[in-house]
Amino acid sequence: MILQKNKITSLPALTGFIFLSFILISTFTYQLNADQWFNHYEKAMKAFTEKNWNQTISNLTEAIREKQEPKINCKTWGVRFVDYLPYYYMGTSYFYLGNYEQAKFYFNKSLEYGEIKKKENLLLDLNQKLELCKTKLSPTPIETPPTEITQPETKDSSTAAQISQYIAEGDKFKSIGDFPSARKEYSKAKNLIELSKEKTNLLVDITQKLAETSKTEKLLQAEDLLKQNRFDEAITTIQTVLKDNRADTKARLLLKQAQLARDRFQKTPPQSPSTATATTPTDTGGQNSINILLVEGSQLLKQENWETAKDKFAAALQLNPNLPNALLALYTIANHYLNSGIKSYFNGDLPLAEESLDKVLDILGINPLSSQNNKTVINTYLFKAVILLEKHFLGTAAHGNEMQEARDFISKIYTLDPDFQPPKQYFSPRISYFLERTYFLERK
C-alpha cells in the first residue's frame, strides 16, 4: 500500500462526516420532500390489490393532486412506465365501498379523459360498474351533489397553519371535482389571509384559485344547462365567465357551441314527447353510449379516419339529434371531403371528385346544416352540378339525365341563396356558359 497514512485515517472521518451531513439534511427537509405522484399511485395500487379501498382513495387523491391527467404508458422514473388511470381506480374503490354517487362521478371522469378506452378490459369493467351505479341510483333520479367530505376543525392556533389547511382542503375538493366545497374552503382561507394582512402573495394565489374554481364550476353548470336544452341560461352563465376573462378559449368555444345549438334547436321542429323521452340525457344508458361514440369519433377525427369518424357521429346523432359537438364534427368531415372533391376536380380526376362530393352529400343528408345557407352546402351543389355537366359534355354520362340533375343542384343553390353568383372564371367556357345561362334563367 502506498497510500499515505494521513489519507487512510482522514478518509473514513471525512466520508463519515459528509454522509452524516446528508442524512441530517434529508431528515430536516423530509417534510418538504413529499412523494411524487408515482409514489402515491404505487401505494394506491398496492392498497387496491389488498382491497384496502379507503387507503386506495387516500393515495389516489394525493396522486391526482400531483398529476390530474390519466395516461397509458406514463413515464415515472428511469426507464419505467405505468398506466396511470387514477379515476378508474377511484371509481372502483368507491364502488366497492357502496358510494355509487362518487363511483359514477369518477367513472364518468375517466371516460371524459378517454385514456381508459385504450384498455379494453378495464373499459368493459368500468362500463359494467357504471351501469350498476346508475341502477343503484335510479330510485333517486334527482342528482345529489357528491358527498361532502367533512372538514376537520383545526385546533392549531396558528393562523398560517389554518390557512394552509383550508387551502389543502380546497385543493382536495377541487381535485375530486367538488367545486362548491373547494370554493367554500378557499373563501375561508381568503378571509383569514385578509384578516392577517401579511401574506399578500398568498392573497393573490388564493384569489386566483377562487376565480379558477368559480369559472370551472360555471362552465360545468353551463354544460349541464346545454344538455337540458336551456340554451339562454347556459349562454348567460358562459357570458359571466367571459366578463371576467374575454380571452378564455374554453368559454368562448362553449359559447359558440351553445349559440349554434340554440339556433339549430329553434329551427328544428320540436320533437314529440315520446321521442324526447327516448333521447333525453336523463336516459343514462343512451347517454353513456352517446358519450362513448362521441369520444371514439373525436379520436378517429384526430387520426383523420374520416369515414369511421363520420359513422360514429352519425350513430350518436341517431341516438340524440341534439348534439352540437356531433353536428360540428360532421360539418368538419363534410368540409374535408368537399376540399378533396374540389382538388380532384381541378386535377382532372372526375371520378374521384364525384366520389368525394357524394360523401359530402351523404353527410348533408344526416346533418340539418344542409338546409342552411352556408358555403359548404352551396359549393357542394355547385361542384356536383359542374361534374355532372363535365360528364355530359365528355360523353361519359351514365344515364343521360346529368344535365337535368345539374340544373336541379343549381336550383337548390338559388333556393338557399337567391343572390348567388356562380364563379364562372374557374370553369371551361361550356360550363361557364351553362352557369351564366342558369343564372340568367333563375334571376328571371
Binding site: 489519507k7 446528508f22 417534510q31 426507464v79
Partner: protein, 500 residues
C-alpha cells in the same frame, strides 16, 4: 528524426525545457547519439513506433490507451454512452453515481448493474516521402482489449419519510488494457554513397488501469431537488511490456558486394501502482416534470505513483551481439485535475429524452511531480512534467497544458411493445478538446458518434452501445502527413431492478 540524425558521434546529452512561469520542467529528453546510421535505427526502434509513444518516458507509465481516456473520463454504462455520454441531468439508473451522484436520489428500488467493454484503438499514418531519397512506409498500429468496466449495487432505504440511496460501485475509470501490434514499417534511405532498407515493428501488451471503488449516497432534500456525494478510492496501476524490433541492411554503392546488417530489439517492462482519493458532489433539479438540470463537481486528487521500469536492448551488428539494460523507478505522485460538469435534459414526450452535457477539466493544473528517470550514466534525474500526449513534440515545441472541454449530446426514444416490453433506441454526439496542441501547434479535438439500444422486460435490462471517436493530428513536426486516430468501443450493460 532529422534533428537526431545530425547528432555528434559518441555523444550524449540531455535536452531540457523549463517553463519559467510555472517553474517546472516541461519536457526533458535523453538523446542518445551514435554514428549516424545507427542513430536512425535506434530511433526507428525505440521512439515513434508505439501507438501513443512519446519522447518522454512518462507516457509509459500510463500505457498507450490512456490518452483517449484522460480527458474523456466521464461515467459508465451502455445507456449513457448510447446517448453520447450526456447523462449528468439524467443519472437515474444504477450507473448514476459515476455520472452525477445527485441522480441517486431518483432511484426508488434496489438495482444491480454490470457493464463490460470492448475497445479497438487504431492510428494510421500514410506513407511519407520526406525527400526523393527518403521514404517512410505507412504505419498502422492496431490494438484491442476487452473486459469489465463497472459494477454497482444500489439500495434505497426509507427511514420514515426520509429516503437515502446508498451505492457501492467499482469502476475502471481509465483502462490501460491494450494489446497492440504495429505493421512492419519500411524505411528506405538512398544517398549517393549507400542505400538503407529498414524494417521496424512494435508490440505492446498492457493490463491494468485506474480503478475507482466508490461509496456514494444520494437523497432528496426537497421535492424537486436531489443531492449526492461519492468518495472514490482510486487504485491499481499498469503492468506490461513493449517490444520493438528493427532489421536494417545497408548496401554501399561504392562497393555493392558489401552488405552491412544490423538487428536491434528493445524490450521495456513497466510496472506501476497508483492510489489516491477524490470526492464527487452532484445536484439534480427537476425544474419541471419534463426538464432537469444536473451539476456535478469531481474534486482534484493527489495520486501516489510507484513505478519500476526495466529496459533491455540487444543489438546484432554484423554478427557482433551487444546487450545493455537500464532500470529506474521512484515514488512519485501526480495531480489529477478537478472537473465540473453541467447537464440539461428535456423530455418533449414521455418516450423521448434529449440531453446535453458540458464538462470542463482543469488540465492546466495537472502535473506529474517528482518524476524520476535514470540518465545514460545511471544518474537520477527528478522532474516535474506535464501529462503525456499522443503527439510527439520536439522538446522545444511542447506547449503548456490547457483546460479541456467536452460537449456531449444525445437522445433516447423508448418504444413500448406488448406486455410491457421496452426497447430504447439511442444516439449521441460529442466533441472532446484535448489539453495539448499537436506538433503543428493546432488544438487537438476528437469527435465522436454513438448509438445504442436496449431491451427491458420486467426486472431485467440489457443495453448495448457503440462509440466511435476519431480525429487527426500532426504527430511530429518532421512529419509530412497527419496521423488518423480512431477508437471504437462497445459497451454492454446488464441491470437488475428489484421491484417493478
Amino acid at each position: 528524426m532529422a534533428k537526431i540524425l545530425s547528432g555528434t558521434p559518441s555523444d550524449t546529452f540531455l535536452l531540457t525545457q523549463i517553463d519559467e512561469e510555472e517553474g517546472i520542467i516541461m519536457k526533458q529528453t535523453l538523446i542518445y547519439t551514435f554514428p549516424p546510421l545507427l542513430v536512425l535505427i535506434i530511433i526507428m526502434v525505440s521512439v515513434p513506433v508505439g501507438l501513443y509513444s512519446q519522447y518522454g518516458h512518462e507516457s509509459r507509465l500510463f500505457s498507450p490507451a490512456s490518452d483517449t481516456n484522460f480527458s474523456g473520463v466521464v461515467g459508465a454504462g451502455a445507456r449513457a454512452f448510447g446517448m453520447g455520454g450526456a447523462f449528468i441531468a439524467i443519472a437515474d439508473d444504477a450507473t448514476a453515481a459515476s455520472w452525477n451522484p445527485g441522480g441517486l436520489g431518483q432511484l426508488e428500488k434496489p438495482e444491480f448493474s454490470f457493464v463490460s467493454r470492448f475497445q479497438n484503438c487504431r492510428t494510421l499514418q500514410p506513407a511519407q516521402l520526406v525527400t526523393p531519397g527518403f521514404f517512410i512506409g505507412p504505419k498502422d498500429n492496431d490494438g484491442n482489449s476487452y473486459g469489465f468496466d463497472f459494477i454497482s449495487l444500489t439500495y434505497p432505504v426509507h427511514i420514515g419519510k426520509v429516503k437515502l440511496v446508498p451505492q457501492i460501485s467499482f469502476q475502471r475509470s481509465i483502462s490501460f488494457d491494450l494489446k497492440t501490434t504495429m505493421n512492419d514499417v519500411r524505411t528506405m534511405i538512398s544517398t549517393p554513397e549507400y542505400f538503407q532498407d529498414i524494417y521496424a515493428n512494435d508490440i505492446q501488451d498492457f493490463v491494468g488501469g485506474i480503478d475507482n471503488v466508490s461509496f456514494s449516497l444520494g437523497t432528496k432534500i426537497f421535492k424537486r431537488i436531489n443531492i449526492g456525494f461519492s468518495t472514490n478510492i482510486m487504485m491499481n496501476g499498469l503492468d506490461g511490456s513493449e517490444t520493438s524490433n528493427a532489421f536494417a541492411t545497408i548496401t554501399s554503392l561504392a562497393d555493392p558486394g558489401k552488405i552491412y546488417t544490423y538487428e536491434a530489439q528493445q524490450k521495456e517492462s513497466i510496472k506501476s501502482e497508483m492510489e489516491g482519493i477524490n470526492f464527487n458532489f452532484g445536484i439534480l433539479v427537476d425544474v419541471t416534470e419534463n426538464f432537469k438540470i444536473g451539476v456535478v463537481y469531481k474534486s482534484s486528487a493527489t495520486i501516489d505513483l510507484n513505478y519500476d521500469v526495466t529496459s533491455e536492448t540487444t543489438t546484432n551488428e554484423n554478427g557482433v551481439i551487444t546487450k545493455s539494460s537500464l532500470r529506474y523507478g521512484a515514488n512519485s505522485y501526480f495531480r489529477w485535475p478537478q472537473t465540473i460538469g453541467i447537464g440539461l435534459a428535456f423530455r418533449p414526450s414521455d418516450p423521448l429524452t434529449i440531453s446535453v452535457d458540458f464538462t470542463s477539466t482543469r488540465w492546466s493544473k495537472a502535473i506529474l511531480r517528482n518524476f524520476l528517470i535514470k540518465d545514460i550514466d545511471n544518474k537520477d534525474v527528478i522532474l516535474d512534467v506535464y501529462f503525456p500526449t499522443f503527439a510527439e513534440f520536439s522538446p522545444d515545441k511542447r506547449e503548456k497544458q490547457v483546460d479541456s472541454v467536452q460537449i456531449r449530446g444525445g437522445l433516447e426514444y423508448i418504444i413500448i411493445g406488448k406486455k410491457n416490453l421496452l426497447i430504447p433506441l439511442r444516439i449521441g454526439l460529442f466533441g472532446d478538446t484535448q489539453y495539448y496542441s499537436d506538433a503543428a501547434g493546432n488544438k487537438v479535438t476528437l469527435f465522436g458518434i454513438t448509438g445504442g439500444m436496449g431491451i427491458k422486460k420486467g426486472i431485467f435490462s440489457f443495453d448495448i452501445a457503440a462509440l466511435y471517436e476519431f480525429g487527426n493530428y500532426l504527430k511530429s513536426n518532421t512529419d509530412y502527413s497527419e496521423t488518423l486516430f480512431s477508437d471504437f468501443r462497445i459497451y454492454a450493460s446488464f441491470i437488475i431492478s428489484f421491484g417493478k
